[in-house]
């Protein structure tokens, strides 16, 4: 199939051919031809955001909750630079995106034209790949390649920069079936010998653990199913990174909770003491490992990842397996069954007994209150009220994010959207909008802090315009809580600029946007207020006034090992727990 059309029409046609139903964007001079082509069709819906950064986060939420590629359209210059934070976020968290940016006409490039910037130069380090299309006859191929690159291998954002004259020019459109990428063909299937070695290593373990990450989610729901299958067959305990929550059900006895800096005591202790660690689609990030030379010192490590550059980057592993989680897990399940393997049962039972001892410390315990809402309590009540519903949770970044990860329990993949790698405040509301667009009948909640939410507050307007009934659940402690916590622990309680002065009245703000505002200040009122929030079929801002002083525990102080974590009731010892070296780390 090859037909003549304008570059702008090619963009819409390629979207249609790639199965795009919704995309997020903001118009401007350099993308007007594409917006004109958009105007003249009805198949694809555009969601107009209020800031380009939010367009990218919304596309991330859409992609993360649906497994599809998120699509963004922004203009040149400030449109592109505003998108940079979102693109970097998507790169860090491996979210498949295609972002179309307008560019000034080719003859103006390099002339400091109005709303010109070097988009491919600026976005080169924050995209998986990017293109500047100078010839309309290359455009269709590049667009299809962009979708291919975004979703194959380790997913990531791809930018296609299209000068305005290329959007106007007429050229030949080719369909996606005619595209074969000449260099980028990631390896999906691992060698049989590696699979055999892996299952033998697990079978020979006495203290094994599965450490899973966002790669399991990215690989699709089948990977989560296979992970559960492999865990069931082997009896191995499972923990996960922040990005991997939901791949393994929280209700399962084999679930240890999240690991890492604010992970559970049992998960971190089990990581530290294990003898065989199977890392599945995670990347040994510094929030996970703590002090590297004390990371799981007695363990053999298997690392399954689709991206060879993740292997041996931070931690040297004994058995690297390059491949897609779904394929590798399927092969491992098959190999396990074919050999009728079994872990030494008395050893495994002893390991579980040890884990249960750790678990019995109840590391997430907090001091309850009848007077003031504890943030942990708020998340627990939110979970209790929504667990039987079709619920998608996004977060902003900070204490509330960690409490959400600790206290909200996820049974299924793709239900949890958070900015893990980049830690972008302002992510949650647009991400919830994206998830709501992908799942119109679901309950989409942004668990937020009062500081983060102000970073992309303007998107309430988007939610109202497109009738997307997202709920913003603000744990309002009138502090940038995580900053305050670190200042308390590391900087002598000098709360430099972490107090949220001059906060808006969130209830009135919701009203001003055309949404609904609810405030709750007493623990006793919480359940009814949450129920009211759920029942309202409009965008809601829920201003939950919580304890100002609460800290997020457990915590592995920077520069410390997994077995040196601090639990809530030990908080007074903190000054001694953090070394000077640790203070240098963020």
């Amino acid at each position: 199939m090859s037909i003549q059309m304008t570059g702008a029409e090619m963009v819409m046609r390629a979207f249609a051919d790639q199965g795009v139903e919704h995309f997020f964007g903001y118009p401007g001079g350099a993308v007007l031809p594409i917006y004109d082509a958009l105007f003249q069709q009805n198949a694809i819906e555009h969601i107009l955001v209020r800031h380009e950064q939010a367009a990218v986060h919304a596309a991330e939420g859409y992609a993360r909750s649906s497994g599809k590629v998120g699509v963004v359209l922004v203009t040149s210059g400030p449109g592109a630079t505003n998108a940079v934070t979102g693109l970097t976020d998507a790169l860090m968290d491996s979210i498949p995106l295609v972002c179309i940016t307008g560019q000034v006409a080719t003859h103006l490039i390099g002339n400091d034209a109005f709303q010109e910037c070097d988009t491919v130069g600026i976005t080169r380090p924050c995209t998986k790949h990017n293109y500047l299309v100078r010839d309309v006859n290359d455009l269709a191929r590049v667009l299809h390649e962009a979708f291919y690159v975004a979703q194959n291998g380790r997913p990531g954002p791809v930018v296609v920069d299209i000068p305005k004259d290329v959007q106007f020019a007429t050229g030949t459109y080719i369909g996606r079936e005619n595209i074969q990428h000449k260099t980028y063909r990631p390896k999906l299937k691992a060698e049989d010998a590696q699979i055999s070695a892996a299952v033998e290593m697990i079978a020979g373990a006495k203290k094994p653990i599965f450490y899973t990450g966002g790669g399991v989610i990215n690989s699709g729901p089948e990977a989560s199913r296979l992970l559960r299958e492999l865990a069931r067959l082997t009896g191995v305990p499972v923990t996960s990174t922040l990005m991997g929550l939901g791949a393994f059900p929280a209700a399962n006895r084999q679930w240890l909770g999240m690991l890492g800096m604010h992970g559970t005591y049992e998960a971190n202790m089990a990581m530290h003491d294990c003898d065989v660690m199977v890392c599945i689609g995670a990347r040994f990030d510094d929030r996970i490992t703590g002090r590297l030379d004390a990371f799981a010192p007695g363990s053999k490590k298997i690392h399954i990842d689709i991206d060879p550059s993740s292997i041996n980057k931070n931690v040297k592993v004994d058995l690297p397996i390059i491949g897609d989680c779904t394929r590798v897990l399927a092969d491992m399940v098959e190999a396990w069954n074919a050999r009728s393997l079994k872990i030494d049962q008395p050893a495994l039972a002893a390991w579980w007994a040890q884990i249960e001892r750790w678990r019995s410390r109840n590391c997430l315990a907090y001091r309850p209150s009848d007077e003031i809402i504890k943030p942990q309590f708020a998340i627990e009540r939110l979970y209790a009220a929504t667990k039987d519903k079709d619920v998608y949770i996004s977060t902003e970044v900070g204490q509330h994010q960690m409490w959400a990860a600790q206290f909200f329990r996820f049974e299924e993949p793709n239900r949890w959207m958070t900015s893990g790698g980049l830690g972008t405040m302002g992510y949650g509301l647009p991400a919830a909008i994206g998830a709501q667009k992908a799942h119109p009948n679901a309950l989409c909640i942004d668990i937020a802090g009062e500081a983060s939410i102000l970073m992309n507050m303007q998107e309430m307007s988007t939610a109202v315009q497109f009738d997307l009934p997202v709920k913003v659940f603000i744990l309002n402690n009138r502090y940038m809580g995580m900053v305050r916590q670190w200042q308390e622990l590391l900087h002598g309680g000098r709360y430099s600029h972490s107090y949220s002065e001059a906060l808006p009245d969130f209830v009135k703000l919701a009203d001003a946007y055309g949404g609904v505002g609810i405030r709750c200040e007493k623990p006793g009122d919480l359940d009814a207020a949450i129920q009211e929030m759920i029942n309202v079929k409009r965008p809601v801002i829920f201003d939950c006034i919580v304890d100002q002083q609460e800290n997020c525990f457990p915590m592995i102080p920077s520069g410390r090992a997994h077995n040196e974590m601090i639990l809530g009731d030990m908080a007074i010892d903190l000054d001694e727990a953090i070394t000077d070296e640790g203070k240098m780390l963020v």
């Binding site: 380090p125 998986k128 260099t183 590297l292 030379d293 550059s309 292997i311 041996n312 980057k313």
Partner: protein, 171 residues
């Protein structure tokens, strides 16, 4: 990163890439962004119809860092192949330099004699200067430039290292 003192190694990498705009910026940006070293980098088109360029990079780092560099290069979308010539055996490495020397009398004669010994060619001459062209391994060129210093060395232009593996196989 643990403090165990891993040895720093020097490796020569050959990278076959699509000859498209920005590809060199991608490679260089990768090195600067991730804090890797570039001792030498050369690039030129090697197949016009295939639109392929070959980049030769000499880099230093611990074995773990060198492995990272190769993996990071390999996952760049326009990269076809990455080969570590240092691992694959004794690769052939050459560099070309042009060396400008200014002098009269005895020094001028000595410069010419040394050039002959190093098999450097005179590619430009005036009454008071020569430009020599010399090809060889980097240390040979270092040595030649060092010898020219007292004889009136003015400036040196070097290509950086190009390298290819021995034997009949392509990279």
């Amino acid at each position: 990163m643990s403090q165990s003192p891993e040895p720093i190694e020097r490796h020569t990498l050959s990278v076959l890439v699509d000859n498209e705009p920005g590809v060199l910026a991608r490679v260089i940006g990768l090195f600067s962004g991730r804090g890797y070293n570039i001792d030498s980098l050369t690039v030129s088109e090697v197949s016009h119809e295939g639109r392929l360029s070959r980049i030769t990079i000499v880099t230093t780092g611990t074995p773990m860092v060198i492995e990272q560099i190769k993996n990071q290069l390999d996952r760049l979308v326009p990269v076809h192949k990455v080969r570590d010539l240092t691992v694959e055996g004794t690769a052939l490495e050459r560099e070309l330099a042009m060396v400008k020397v200014r002098g009269l009398g005895e020094a001028r004669g000595e410069a010419l004699r040394l050039a002959e010994a190093f098999r450097a060619r005179v590619i430009d001459a005036t009454r008071e200067s020569f430009v020599f062209e010399i090809t060889g391994k980097s240390d040979k060129i270092d040595q030649f430039a060092w010898l020219m210093e007292p004889l009136g060395l003015v400036e040196v232009a070097r290509t950086g290292v190009v390298a290819i593996s021995r034997g009949p196989e392509a990279m």
